[in-house]
Symmetry: D2
Subunit: 393 residues, 4 copies
């Protein structure tokens, strides 16, 4: 009997693993590490169900890739067994470079590196360990393979990555409005002149998908409480580095040593548990800024946060800094660790760097923002920026 | 033990009837008739699950009314037991004036009357039979009651009628993209200065609700095949009147007599079964236009239909008329029963006649189209019109 | 591009039709007729959502067949493209012989014939019209094909027919307890020595499936109100025949002529609409038994019904007969049309005529009732019988 | 406006907090700690979605308590506002005594104490901090309050604790067969002579509930891989104590000191993060048993496990011990840490210590195992025991 394993998934029912190499990669400690990295960092402080792991997301995206490839094959696109395995492998590993708390700490622990770069380094390492069997997956992952649509399925406007994370995150948060018709969109995918696009009759589903993403950004990912908690988390790491707070190995090295001296091997053992355990330890740290932030995060006694449509009034900042100084007996420098501003942005559809192409029955192609009566028009195209201030309660 | 009945509903789980008068009205033959009237007319020809009844929708809207009133009471709005019963009664009966195939035949069987007028007449009749116990429900239904928000819950931008039909229709069609966060919107309802509005933090849910409605209109209610089947249905009734086709009583009177001579009592016995049975009978009618249309509808051999962004080119119409004439040996007059054009329209949000007001935390109120970075902006505000032609395959 | 059509289904998401012959059979008026036959007869009087059609069930079972065959192929069972098409065709048509109100009138309109016999006759007729392309489907449907598991998928303890109807009926009634893990069971199917069985690790799912079926029988299919309404429906037809009540053709022939003189063609035009329209007409019939029953059914003013664990006490029957006689001024013969008893039964698992075989990892096979700590043991194996009486309120 | 907070829950939609005291207790660090304790310990190694927290379960049970009390009040049971608050408080805190990895480590970290005892101690402590406002909750929690049904809702055959955990665990694992009709059961609850029971028409739902629980036990909670991982976890703690492995405070004290010297305060800071961080640290511990177990758990390279219907054959144990000794160069004593046997048991319904009473319409009461044609009969009443062995791959 051929190799075959099924995994229960509350989102899709069952995920089937029917390839031995993929099964071996899943079993590898580097991949298993993703089990201990939350997909949504601090979102669970607002949405208690949002505790699913990045491993779960990776499996989900892998599942959708299988469906997508099947649909394309059924529509006559030629995809070989090797390409199928490689595309599934590439999506399985697309996030393997994420460190503790994913995006929230992406640039704090390992400065100046995107998780995609780390993913690539780790896939290369795995490829070595698996004797080059991931070569084709690497070609696809780095967009060097001639069948461009395979890359577009991994990273593009309609990639299975965002289809899974929107579906999965709305499922686990319970924000039903974030639900997208991923199954319908997958059925509408089509390859035209080598490019991934969607059939005409999916226009409304695609518009809905963009609106759902917009909603998920503002209602969930950038929810002010979530934002605040993640800012506190960032500042904890920053402050720990600043005061050279000691903690367990291997996190210790990331906090106290120049990043160049840390190995990929060390990175691959890090996960949420190290960071949280460190934070729990620092609750009693002698540096009062650090311990204040750590206690706040652990006990969900967060800073107060407000959003504005315009940059935060400097008078407000000064006022809050002064208040903090008095309340906790801090100088201005110290207070600025607890009272700070920033900005966030999100775009519903930005035709400068993204394109969703609609293939009409008569063969012509239009951008989703150019169809008749498009929902996605001028007003929605730029980025929406919001400005925030966090300060002491 | 107080009166209490529960009804299984796949959409909401359970619907509870805990008022004897409401139970009696539900048991009345006029209400039970709604069991035999499909909520979505011919939509099941495209979406086979869309066979739910108007009775089911009425019960669903009644259920949501209960939740809405509860939420408002929890927020401090004063609503008496009598008002609660009356508001629930009014929504329960809001569609009782629908005849066979609801909107699809609304102006064919009983010309020049909206179903709302018929609903009102029937509620008056029921009020007589129930000795005036529906007086307050009538006041609310006709917007004569001083607590305006009760009427707004029945008929307004955020009424429980459309919240139920969007939810229910997307459920039974399986068009998941039509799902709205009805539960979240209900939790966000609030009465401010006597008007129904929603809290600030529901903005994204409301935008999503409007986009979902837009999608349901174009993807489901005005799906070209559904539109075509419903046009055929209308033309069957028109043609039957034209050729004075006989059928069973009481439908017979509606087909053959001046509408003034037909009684409300007779109307209240009509349902989908009369019309479909008549159509089945007319499949063998000697008038070939009538039998052609009837056979087409019964056997799902529909006319061909195309949508255009602009009015249909008259040359195309002439061409199709000529083709039909030859295929079925018809003169132009006859052919025009089978080859015809029309237009449909739908608006996502039309601030001329509709308003969704957002209540901000600081007490000010804004229209949903005027909030920062509104999704619903200029481009979405007018009506979108489409033009269609139906013709012989 | 290969032929491909997708249909929205609220139960499974999408049903894909990717075979032209199957598409043509679906488009045939005989199959389209199933659109007008309710899957659950009168159950909607208790469960208002239960108005789905037999066409929908047929499509659903067809969908599950596709999944089942795919799973078996993935496990190494050899199934040719022709066999796949034929098995899907056979399940698509397995219920095509159902007449109006399915089981409820199965033996009233066409006496002494099971719907399976009629299905077979109709498939033969379709096979003629499609020039023998349904030969293999017929072989499978009649269990004459050497790959026995294909027949077992259509009619057996684990056939996709009952997997769909349990899933679909619990979905539309909203009786969540009837939900079975159809997807898990399908993943566990396996062919062993030519026989369909399930893998060891599905034992609990199978037990759950049997308990869910038991629940659906007693809570839904044999719900006392449903039973009563369906008995009234039967008696209406019986009485109509008895008094030779006239109605529209072709139902007329079934009511008034010897069954031998009625043609298959005539049967294939019958549906729920004919029967309901006739019943509506008979509401004013001069025979007071007939009109009483018809009004009761139409207005949901049903007889009263009670269940007993033992045969109904004859004294009770006599008492109720007498009461009815007085209330409606009937003689005993007439009263017995409105006051009557009967019995129903259902078995959870009956090893005399059904077998679910479990294939253990070491290759041995056991009946589900013989595994360690089986839920399905002696006590559950016989039939459970209940006795009922219906009588005037 | 009255106090009111809503929390998104993927299982129930929204959970409403409308009481300030309850909100304050939820905000307390002792309760927030439950956010960092997984509800299902190691089950996520098999069911990746099963990562929900005990805080989430507590909120869910609190939500169901609200529904249950509402239903009972609607049926005429007298429940005061104070009792309602107290019953909700008691269920909210019923699991607050759980330590890291809940049941899996229940008797390892704090020997000889059940989590219920610790819950009680912590509620007493909270009662102190909240100035006696939890007195009534304590009375109910300890079954000293005269309205016994309030206690039965917290701890009994039909308590909202197990209704939530079965519902929630089946939701997050994706094991749909574990779904129970919690909403139907809640609607069927009734108080009779002061005792909580269910109405007659819920019999099938209750039977289904018991079968679903049975399934969840064997398919999920006692899944052999889950069992094995949790046994490894236990042995890691045992071994760490044995070799006095050092780790971070405050876990350190639980590992290295006599349990009497540890404070409740210290216990209340422990969570899964401490244990997992410690295990990650011990991956490089010099004790090879400890490091072997730790690496196995972290990298999901588990021991092999087999279930038997009878006690494990001693020859098999000896053989596996010998194998382990050779593979890892261990003496028998050491090998017995990696090769071991045990037993687990679960009962579907055990009338010795549990009772579900059915209230019939005529007022008499029967045990669920004594109704006509009961599913729960002799065979299902005892405990089912299984025996397992874990050993090296």
């Amino acid at each position: 009997m051929p190799f075959r394993k099924i995994i229960n998934d509350p989102v899709y029912g069952f995920i089937t693993i029917d390839d031995e190499l993929i099964n071996q990669v899943i079993a590898h400690p580097y991949f298993q590490r993703l089990r201990r990295i939350g997909q949504m960092a601090m979102a669970n402080l607002v949405y208690p169900g949002a505790v699913h792991s990045r491993l779960h997301h990776a499996l989900g995206a892998y599942h959708l890739m299988g469906i997508a490839l099947n649909e394309l094959k059924n529509k006559g696109t030629n995809i070989t067994a090797a390409e199928e395995q490689a595309a599934k492998m590439a999506i399985l590993l697309h996030d393997i470079g994420h460190g503790p708390f994913s995006h929230a700490l992406e640039h704090e622990l390992v400065e100046s590196m995107h998780h995609e770069d780390l993913s690539l380094m780790i896939i290369h390492e795995l490829n070595k360990q698996f004797n080059g069997q991931l070569n084709l997956a690497l070609d696809i992952f780095t967009d060097q393979y001639h069948k461009k649509f395979l890359y577009q399925l991994i990273s593009g406007q309609l990639d299975v990555d965002r289809m899974d994370y929107l579906t999965r995150d709305s499922f686990f948060t319970g924000v039903n409005e974030g639900v997208i018709g991923y199954d319908r969109i997958l059925k509408m995918l089509i390859v035209n002149n080598g490019d991934l696009m969607v059939e005409e009759k999916s226009i409304y589903s695609i518009e809905k998908f963009l609106v759902a993403r917009r909603l998920m950004y503002w209602q969930v990912y950038l929810h002010k409480t979530v934002l605040c908690a993640e800012q506190m988390l960032k500042r904890i790491i920053k402050r720990a580095k600043f005061v050279k707070a000691s903690t367990q190995l291997p996190l210790h090295n990331f906090i106290t040593k120049p990043i160049q001296t840390v190995t990929l091997e060390e990175f691959c053992t890090l996960d949420d548990y190290d960071v949280m355990a460190a934070i729990k330890g620092w609750c009693n740290h002698e540096d009062k800024i650090l311990s204040f932030l750590c206690n706040g995060l652990i006990n969900r006694q967060l800073l107060k946060v407000r959003y504005f449509g315009n940059p935060v009034d400097d008078n407000l900042v000064q006022e809050k800094l002064a208040e903090a100084g008095i309340k906790l007996n801090l100088n201005m420098d110290e207070a600025s660790w607890l009272v700070f501003t920033g900005e966030v942005s999100s775009s519903t559809y930005n035709p400068d760097d993204e394109h969703i192409h609609i293939l009409f029955k008569d063969g012509h192609v239009k951008d989703i923002s150019e169809v008749d009566n498009a929902l996605i028009n001028q007003n929605l195209m730029g980025k929406v920026k919001k400005y925030y201030i966090c300060y002491l309660r």
